[in-house]
């Protein structure tokens, strides 16, 4: 059979069967959707969201530096109510009466930096600094990171790598996850040719 060969009888019979058309309401719904202009901010917002996630995950995954300063100060912060955080600046200003406004500003900035480091250290390592701190928040943060990392990994995967990942899920018997991932893949790459699995 060549490309141009057809079975005219079958073709004619089939043509006689062709009468179905989509209902007008369906036509209208699709045409209405097509007339909507895509949001101009959609792509920039997506990129911004990915960048924010990437920075957040990277910061969380950075190894914590053992800074003596923050380690020493952490217990004080745990015991001190939050409003007292602004107290050190005036105190240091008093200790250096000869210093001008610029010096005071530098001191305030240094204090703010030290405080922000303490906060991030405390947030990142609650169990290492306070022995009474419960474990679940740390586990929750780790799980959150894993989910984010998974999403990020997926966002950065090439189509081929993504498909390999889906195949791996299938091998592991995680069929549902594989199907969901495949559905997501199809949405993202609707015209990507996926090789059929060997039979």
């Amino acid at each position: 059979m060549t490309d141009t060969e057809r079975d005219e009888k079958v073709a004619a019979g089939y043509r006689a069967l062709r009468s179905e058309e989509p209902p007008p309401a369906l036509d209208e719904a699709i045409l209405t959707a097509a007339r909507k202009r895509p949001s101009q901010w959609r792509v920039p917002l997506s990129i911004a969201a990915v960048l924010v996630l990437a920075v957040g995950v990277t910061l969380r995954m950075l190894p914590q530096r053992p800074e003596a300063e923050s380690v020493a100060l952490a217990p004080q912060v745990m015991q001190t109510p939050r409003p007292a955080a602004s107290a050190p600046a005036p105190a240091r200003e008093l200790a250096r009466p000869a210093a001008g406004a610029e010096a005071a500003a530098e001191v305030a900035a240094a204090d703010a930096l030290a405080e922000s480091r303490m906060r991030s250290d405390i947030a990142a390592k609650p169990t290492s600094r306070a022995s009474a701190a419960p474990a679940p928040p740390a586990a929750g943060a780790g799980a959150e990171t894993n989910v984010l990392a998974g999403k990020m990994a997926k966002a950065e995967l090439s189509p081929q790598a993504w498909l390999e990942r889906i195949a791996e899920l299938r091998k592991q018997g995680r069929t549902r996850e594989a199907e969901e991932s495949l559905a997501e893949f199809r949405k993202r790459y609707p015209d990507y040719r996926i090789p059929e699995p060997p039979r």
Partner: protein, 170 residues
């Protein structure tokens, strides 16, 4: 499609008018349930609309459209736990019910043809419909379905043989 991508809504309407009937029948005859067919049909067009920004001229629009449709239907079969397999040379499920009948003209022939088409294995029916409804060549069908041209040719050959048989034209 490129005109639509540039923001000309009228271009989409022209495309839609040209392809709506064949695509609708392609989906309807594939899944055989009207409500489900309408849902899938709408989803396919929505994917076309959403993908307009990524559309590149690598093939005819028809091939691109039916590639999307093929993927959507494949997802549908997988979700239902069905696997698309080639049943070349084998009798399809239900095929036995089409025993040769005395030759009749007109409506009865068409009914038998419709029943035989519904009883074809999915891949053979898909190939036949892409050929008859979308007017695609074997090369285009191969691209849209991710198969080789030889496989597409073979599927079409088996489909036609069965449909001919249903018409009493062995």
């Amino acid at each position: 499609m490129l005109a639509y991508r540039r923001g000309e809504a009228g271009a989409f309407e022209a495309l839609y008018a040209r392809h709506k009937g064949p695509l609708y029948r392609f989906v309807l005859r594939s899944v055989k349930e009207r409500a489900l067919a309408e849902e899938l049909y709408q989803e396919i067009w929505m994917r076309v609309i959403e993908s307009r920004g990524r559309y590149a001229v690598q093939a005819k629009f028809t091939t691109w459209l039916y590639t999307i449709a093929h993927h959507r239907l494949t997802d549908h079969w997988r979700k239902r736990g069905l696997q698309l397999v080639d049943a070349e040379g084998a009798d399809a499920v239900g095929h036995r019910s089409f025993e040769p009948e005395p030759r009749a003209e007109g409506r009865q022939d068409l009914q038998r043809l419709a029943a035989a088409l519904a009883a074809l294995p999915e891949l053979q029916r898909e190939t036949f419909l892409l050929h008859e409804e979308a007017g695609m060549t074997l090369a285009e069908i191969a691209v849209a379905t991710g198969a080789t041209q030889e496989a597409a040719k073979s599927r079409l050959r088996y489909a036609l043989a069965r449909l001919r048989e249903a018409l009493g034209d062995d």
